[in-house]
Amino acid sequence: MKPTAAQRKAMYSDIVRSREFDDRVLELYFADKMPVFDLAKGVIPGEIHSSHGQEPCAAGTMPHLTLEDTITSNHRPHHHAICRGLDLNKLAAELMGKKTGYCAGKGGHMHIYSVEHKFSCSGIIAEGMGPAAGVALANKMREQDGIAVSYMGEAAANQGAFHEVMNMAGVYTLPYICIIEDNNWGVSVSKKASTAIERNSERAASYGVYGEYVEDNDCDLIFEAMSRCVDRARSGQGASILEIQTYRLKGHMHGDQMAYVPEEEVAAMKDCVIEYRNKLISEGVLTEKEAEEIVSQQKSEVDAAIQFGLDSPYPDPEDAFQNTYAGVSK
């Protein structure tokens, strides 16, 4: 299934929104960590893994998912959260550890939960696969609609959980899709140094599931490939591995200088926001003016969200003792 013009505009809008958000976070991140850089300082502390360059992996896949479907993301969750439609205010506030954030500050950048969006993420590599497949299992058992999708990086495909969950997805014919965003790096280790074969989608053959590789970080190609995987999932044909060639434009986390990435590789990295904009304009789907409107619209929403976060209060220290158990009072 090819995306309509409206869908393409929406995807463009989504990647811009995600990019604007990440740009503002990046700015804020470094603003108050000087003169001695300290992860613990500033309005946005801790490690931040931005989605710069990988936005199409989310923007191209999410249009196929409804609110009955479930998503698990990983340590690099901003593009997934934003393209899933999470509220920017609550997202920004969570990154700042504010009371108004999705988890009232308990989760942070790597632990964003929105139960209404059936969205969660976590910081342990490949950890999101099991829960996603488990939701798929639950839906299948209850003969209920809803598929499940997990997002992760190419390096995560060498974690044991990948193997175990994909095999179970195959055995139980689950409505589940494992999306692999191949940015060629797991922190500082290149795919070649960590992965015995070229294409993780070919590992689908080990699990009796469908595998597809999208060789360019392009919203349209991703949209089409995802439609095939989603069709399979919804029609009872089982699980897929969807592997997307993408680019990690700003290093593993904020502060990573990428000294280990060969110059030629850096030079060859494509910026999807520019590429897709040019493509849509050249194909007459979007005018320069519309594109600018989208950018300024998203910029202002992001600015407002950041401001919301900044203006929000911190939780009380004693809030740490709330919601420890659902039913047990210790």
Binding site: T70, Y113, S120, I124, G134, V135, G160, A161, E164, N167
Partner: protein, 339 residues
């Protein structure tokens, strides 16, 4: 109509599972060897036939995978019961237990519930070697976010299983293999069997059971060591006229520190028996919990009877040496009491 039935721990727990499965379609079981085999320790005996392969789900040997799946199913509103057989296998799925299932509720600030039960079989004493005889309770209880249940008798096993399945929290339900009373481990321990009502009933988490009252010495045990304490107490009573109070916390998370403290306050003496490795474990926690309230309640040094921090040897005489048996408890008690 309630008949007087004496059940084993395994059967009592299974009865609760059965009732919940019959009454709540969201409850299902998954794990290795549950469907046709009925669980390695009989925890699912007969359930496969009763509920079919879609609700009693055999899994591959992929513990990280299936605990991950169960967590997702629980997040989606199901109530999975995961059978892990040997607690020794937590090594291959510790992350799924302590970093995944045990963290969602808190980190999501209560948005995401994980109403899941993880069933484990712990303990040794039957010469099954170092990787099939461990207790490992502390490695689980140490981590926040889960409830840890350790029934020592059939009555508690059933009530706690009902509570576990109905709980909206992630509950680790740790059975002890010899306490369970499964066929291949010989005659069931007499004191583990109880009259069990037909009707479902629940037992609250965090409320200790005072197995017997006494005035001279408090013994705290969990699961198998409760029975070692009972045996030791009988011998101390009959041979030395010592009156022992025995506390079975029943759940180690949450731990009923009040009950333990109150007992020690009365007796002035504390012995803690645990099958797990001694250091950084249950025995230290119990002792610290008492003395951090008030060390003056102790009239002499508290004593720990646990595995002396050794990997568990296979050979019978050596394994018996590291187990916290009634013999060791009697011996240590006598030293404590100056007998």
């Amino acid at each position: 109509m309630s008949s007087e039935r004496t059940l084993t721990v395994a059967r009592a727990g299974r009865e609760a599972v059965m009732w919940e499965m019959q009454n709540d379609p969201s409850v299902f079981m998954l794990g290795e060897d549950v469907f046709a085999f009925g669980g390695v320790f009989g925890t699912a005996d007969g359930l496969g036939e009763m509920f079919g392969p879609d609700r009693i789900l055999d899994t591959p040997i992929s513990e990280t995978g299936f605990i991950g799946l169960a967590t997702g199913a629980a997040m989606a509103g199901m109530r999975p019961i995961v059978e892990l057989a040997f607690v020794d296998f937590i090594g291959v799925c510790y992350n799924a237990i302590v970093n995944l299932a045990a963290k969602h509720y808190y980190l999501s600030n209560g948005q995401v519930k994980v109403p899941m039960v993880l069933m484990l079989g712990s303990g040794g004493g039957y010469n099954n070697g170092a990787q099939h005889s461990q207790s490992l309770l502390a490695s689980l209880a140490h981590m926040p976010g889960s409830v840890v249940v350790t029934p020592s008798n059939a009555y508690d096993a059933k009530g706690l299983m009902h509570s576990a399945i109905r709980s909206d929290d992630f509950v680790i339900y740790s059975g002890q293999k010899k306490v369970a009373g499964v066929g291949m481990l010989g005659t069931p321990i007499k004191t583990s069997m109880s009259v069990v009502p037909d009707e479902p009933y629940t037992i609250p988490f965090g409320v200790a059971n005072i197995v017997q009252e006494g005035t001279d010495l408090t013994m705290v045990g969990v699961s198998w060591t409760v029975h070692q304490c009972i045996e030791a107490a009988e011998r101390l009573q009959s041979e030395h006229n010592i009156s022992v109070e025995i506390i079975d916390p029943r759940t180690v998370v949450p731990l009923d520190r009040d009950a333990i403290f109150d007992s020690v306050k009365k007796t002035g003496k504390l012995l803690v028996a645990d099958e797990d490795y001694q250091s950084f474990g249950f025995t230290g926690e119990v002792i610290a919990s008492v003395v951090e309230r008030d060390p003056s309640v102790l009239s002499c040094a508290p004593v720990r009877v646990a595995n002396p921090d050794l990997n568990i040897p296979y050979s019978r005489p050596m394994e018996l040496r590291v187990l916290p048996t009634a013999d060791r408890i009697v011996e240590e008690s006598k030293k404590m009491l100056g007998l």
